[in-house]
């Protein structure tokens, strides 16, 4: 292993980015789903910065107070403060914590990287919200209740007992807003309902682009027959058209390609190896026209790749862009790759192909919101 890391240093030479660390992560028995997502998140710079900051603020935590957030920020700090530039780290404590916290990940079975990302971000949000609320109720009685900032989480309690949702730094980084517009075909009234998201799960088609998948995500659906819409204005069930557009694009856009599909005839999940091309720069085609930053340009910085032909087995690796270099992380191994290699992870045009390495979760960073 050491050999390959020093090789990485040799390849980069003088170009090795100042202060950057490229560390592989040890696999504790099918924990590649976790490692691949961790690498993608580590190279999500605003996310990493928050975690390093969090660790800096906190006193060492007792084992009893340990949670996923403390474990993750310790892990990131551990990587970041390595003397060597490359090497391998065992994310033992973090993985133990994940297993303690969630039954699903306790087994040594192959797990879904997207489910893990989902679980991790939501856990972090819960922890941060609780901390912010605790900080609020503590400080609220002593100081002015108007503005309380704990850990970047703002505004727990507003005036009176009306409770506003806490916006944590996880929200600030990953959260976007969708608006779900339903137009009654009788009275033409448009009802809009907003909902937030931390990532988008997209249906995929053979030989398509991520832009096309996003367009389909926001295509108009007609509600009729059994599935009519109750229009408040008409006070009755009516035919309606529904579509979902992005109202507020997130700073970090995480796109999950739904490669694991339940096939009714088979009674089980199947992996779709479809070729879905994704560009290194992207603009969202499905934003509402008046949305601020609706034409913001995104840049791809990480791809979690599923390797294998079926849903219940296989492997996860990740591609990460750091300081204009692309790196390939496969558990302990880290390699530098050419940008053009990214396109070998688009998928296959044929169902049975030797190429089983397919992009599964894409991470794009908004260039407009980049500080």
């Amino acid at each position: 292993m050491g050999a390959s890391s020093s090789k990485l240093e040799k390849v980069l030479g003088d170009q090795f980015p100042e202060g950057e660390r490229y560390f592989g992560l040890e696999n504790f028995g099918n924990t590649c789903y976790c490692n691949s997502v961790l690498q993608a998140l580590y190279f999500c710079v605003p996310f990493r910065e928050q975690l390093l900051e969090y660790c800096g603020q906190k006193k060492p935590v007792a084992e009893s107070e340990e949670n996923l957030l403390t474990c993750l920020s310790e892990l990131f700090t551990q990587i970041n403060s390595q003397k060597k530039k490359t090497g391998v780290i065992a994310p033992k404590r973090f993985v133990q914590r994940v297993r303690k916290q969630n039954e699903l990940f306790r087994s040594y079975m192959h797990q879904d990287a997207h489910e893990f990302l989902n679980f991790l971000l939501n856990e972090l949000v819960d922890i941060l919200v609780k901390e912010a609320q605790a900080a609020n109720s503590n400080s609220g009685s002593h100081t002015s209740p108007e503005k309380v900032v704990g850990n970047g989480a703002t505004n727990g309690l507003a005036n009176g007992n009306h409770k506003e949702p806490v916006v944590t730094w996880v929200h600030k980084i990953f959260q976007g807003t969708l608006t779900n517009e339903t137009r009654c075909l009788r009275c033409e009234t448009i009802t809009a309902r907003d909902e937030t998201f931390l990532d988008l799960s997209l249906d995929i088609e053979q030989n398509s682009s991520i832009t096309s998948c996003l367009r389909n995500f926001s295509s108009t659906e007609t509600l009729n027959a059994e599935d009519k819409f109750f229009c408040d204005k008409c006070c009755s069930l009516q035919e309606a058209q529904k579509r979902m557009k992005i109202k507020s694009p997130p700073r970090i856009l995480a796109l999950h390609l739904k490669r694991f599909k339940y096939i009714e005839q088979l009674g089980r999940y199947k992996k779709l190896s479809y070729r879905v091309v994704f560009p290194l720069e992207l603009k969202l085609c499905n934003t509402t026209d008046d949305a601020p930053g609706s034409e913001a340009e995104y840049s791809l910085f990480a791809v979690v790749v599923h390797v294998g032909s079926g849903p219940n087995h296989g492997h996860y690796v990740s591609l990460v862009k750091s300081h204009n270099h692309w790196l390939f992380f496969d558990d302990e191994n880290v390699e530098i790759i050419d940008e053009s290699i990214v396109q070998t992870f688009f998928g296959s045009t044929q169902e049975y192909s030797n190429n089983t390495d397919h992009g599964y979760i894409l991470f794009y960073e908004s260039l407009d919101q980049k500080k």
């Binding site: 989902n118 969708l178 931390l198 799960s201 398509s208 045009t349 190429n355």
Partner: protein, 558 residues
């Protein structure tokens, strides 16, 4: 986390017709309809079964070109130095790759043709191989075409393949193998007076130029009589991504590379003298360096951009050179003056292909934003976005043979253009662009003057790319650009598409894996045996061409 509303819901109709058929049924319909009638699949071409399937994967993408060779009716005169029965007169092709189109100028036939003594490795031709030159598959140069031959040239894996355009034979009549290297681009010019009409660029950076006729007359599987440039990547080791003859300048051709450089070569100069160019100082800055010695070759290096150049195209008269690349910019250069004239950024992502209109007024580009973009030279702006592909656009071309229906009212000069595009969604799309329909949005000020609608950042990913973009425009905003819808969309192959060309009788499509399909135009279904492709084709295109007044410029540099 939000699921798509259509997640796992089988009640939602599939949004595109290709969705269902692709997964289950590889069958592709053999005709498609357009306002002018029905196009029928006439014949297919593919690589020889000798090329193993696994060697075709992803790395090499098939490009296709049409080449027309006219042989002298009887035996040719003996020309000094080599191949006898060659290069009698090279005439118009029905179409050329990259939309350079057919020649719109008169050519001197017969005079001064023939190989010069440069081709030292020429085999002496014999009567026997002139008659049945290839000996693979069908015999290509049978006399049913009065000695003429029209060929499709395409690359697959490690080979350049040549198929007889008019025959029904699926397999190529000639396979030229390159062994360890892959040919990735090529360009044929029927006007090459010295007979070296075929340029081939390799993934190793090597560039060859050879005579197509000579290849057809040789029975081996190797390239014969070729001049070899940038041997083993000695001058530039990055992949050669596009090659082209320089129109109207005899002897010069260009080769674009994956590191953002274009090299200008002179066929009349020996390839042995190496031309050390100084290292590129500023990767994002356009800069032309000339060879220090008048003997060395290449004669010039144009550093165009950071990242790969993915395509290039000369305007038909050779005045302008357009390039597209990884950084998403279309750039238009005045070739003789070696200056950047204009250009703009894609909506997002890399641009993959570009092609001129026959009259030199418009440039089509296609890329990773799934859009076909129409750039107007006159307006210096994007005048239309073709919206209809479900994936990246890999080739674009104007149809120089299509005739616009005569409008009801004779009043007004409305020019209608037909163009086509093929994409990685396996679809061929045809578009009609009427210039009265396209209302050019308020002329956008050049980026340097800071129009408020202009996005203020550079192509993503290039840190420190805050250079002056000069005559280049930033990406237009969505609502600034008029949208076009295709007049026809058809899934033509099972694999992503990579090549498109228009001939007088047909549309030729190519897919990544090296299969070609020839779609006969309406009313051209039964013309295989009695075609007369050249003369009418020329006449039509001459009529359609508005002489730009720039023809005949001498581009030989002082």
């Amino acid at each position: 986390m939000v699921e798509s509303p259509f997640a796992d819901s089988s009640s939602i109709p599939s949004p595109s017709p290709m969705a269902t058929s692709t997964a289950t049924n590889p069958g592709v319909r053999t005709h498609f309809k357009t306002p002018e009638g029905r196009y029928n699949l006439s014949r297919e071409k593919t690589h020889s079964p000798g090329i193993p399937h696994y060697s075709l994967a992803a790395k090499v993408i098939t490009q296709v070109a049409l080449a027309h060779l006219k042989e002298k009716p009887t035996q040719s005169s003996t020309v000094s130095g080599g191949s006898a029965s060659t290069v009698g007169g090279v005439r118009f092709t029905a179409a050329r790759f990259l939309g350079a189109g057919n020649g719109s100028r008169s050519l001197g036939f017969g005079g001064g043709n023939g190989f010069t003594g440069r081709l030292s490795s020429n085999k002496s031709p014999t009567a026997s191989n002139a008659g049945g030159p290839v000996g693979l598959g069908s015999s290509p140069l049978t006399s049913s075409y009065d000695g003429e031959g029209t060929y499709l040239i395409f690359n697959v894996g490690d080979a350049i393949l040549i198929s007889d355009y008019y025959s029904q034979e699926k397999e190529p009549i000639k396979t030229i193998q390159f062994g360890n290297a892959n040919p990735v681009c090529h360009h044929f010019d029927e006007d090459a007076k010295d007979g070296n009409d075929l340029i081939i660029g390799l993934n190793t950076g090597d560039v060859y130029i050879a005579s197509l006729r000579q290849q057809l007359q040789d029975s081996g599987k190797k390239l014969v009589g070729a001049m070899h440039f940038n041997k083993d990547g000695s001058i530039n080791s990055s992949r050669c991504t596009a090659v082209s003859h320089v129109p109207n300048v005899e002897g010069l051709f260009v080769a674009a590379h994956a590191d953002g450089n274009v090299f200008v070569y002179d066929k009349t100069k020996d390839s042995s003298g190496d031309a050390p160019f100084p290292p590129v100082k500023d990767a994002v800055q356009f800069h032309v360096a000339h060879a220090r010695s008048s003997k060395s070759n290449p004669v010039a290096r144009w550093h165009i951009c950071q990242g790969s150049i993915n395509g290039l195209s000369f305007s038909r008269d050779g005045t302008y050179l357009a390039t597209v690349g990884r950084d998403g910019y279309l750039r238009v250069f005045d070739y003789a003056k070696e200056t950047l004239v204009c250009g703009c950024k894609s909506y997002f992502g890399a641009l993959l292909c570009c092609s001129w209109s026959p009259d030199g007024k418009y440039i089509l580009t296609g890329g990773e934003d799934d859009l076909v973009q129409v750039w107007s030279m006159e307006d210096q702006a994007v005048v239309a976005w073709g919206v209809g592909h479900n994936s990246w656009v890999s080739a674009v071309a104007f149809d120089p043979f299509w005739e616009a229906p005569i409008p009801d009212t004779g009043a007004g000069e409305v020019t209608t253009y037909r163009f086509g595009s093929v994409g990685q969604d396996t679809q061929l799309l045809l578009w009609d662009l009427s210039m009265d329909e396209v209302v050019v949005p308020l002329r956008m000020a050049p980026v340097s003057s800071g129009s408020p609608s202009v996005l203020n950042h550079q192509a993503a990913g290039w840190d420190g790319a805050a250079h002056s973009v000069g005559p280049l425009r930033h990406a237009p905003a969505r609502k600034e650009v008029p949208k076009l819808a295709p007049v026809m969309a058809h899934r033509v192959h099972a694999e992503p598409l990579s090549g498109l060309l228009f001939t007088k009788e047909a549309i030729v499509t190519a897919c990544h894996e090296g299969n070609l399909k020839i779609w006969d135009r309406p009313g051209h279904g039964d013309n295989l045996l009695n075609h007369t492709p050249e003369v009418p084709a020329t006449a039509v295109s001459k009529d359609r061409l508005l002489t730009s007044g720039k023809g005949g410029i001498s581009h030989l540099r002082q």
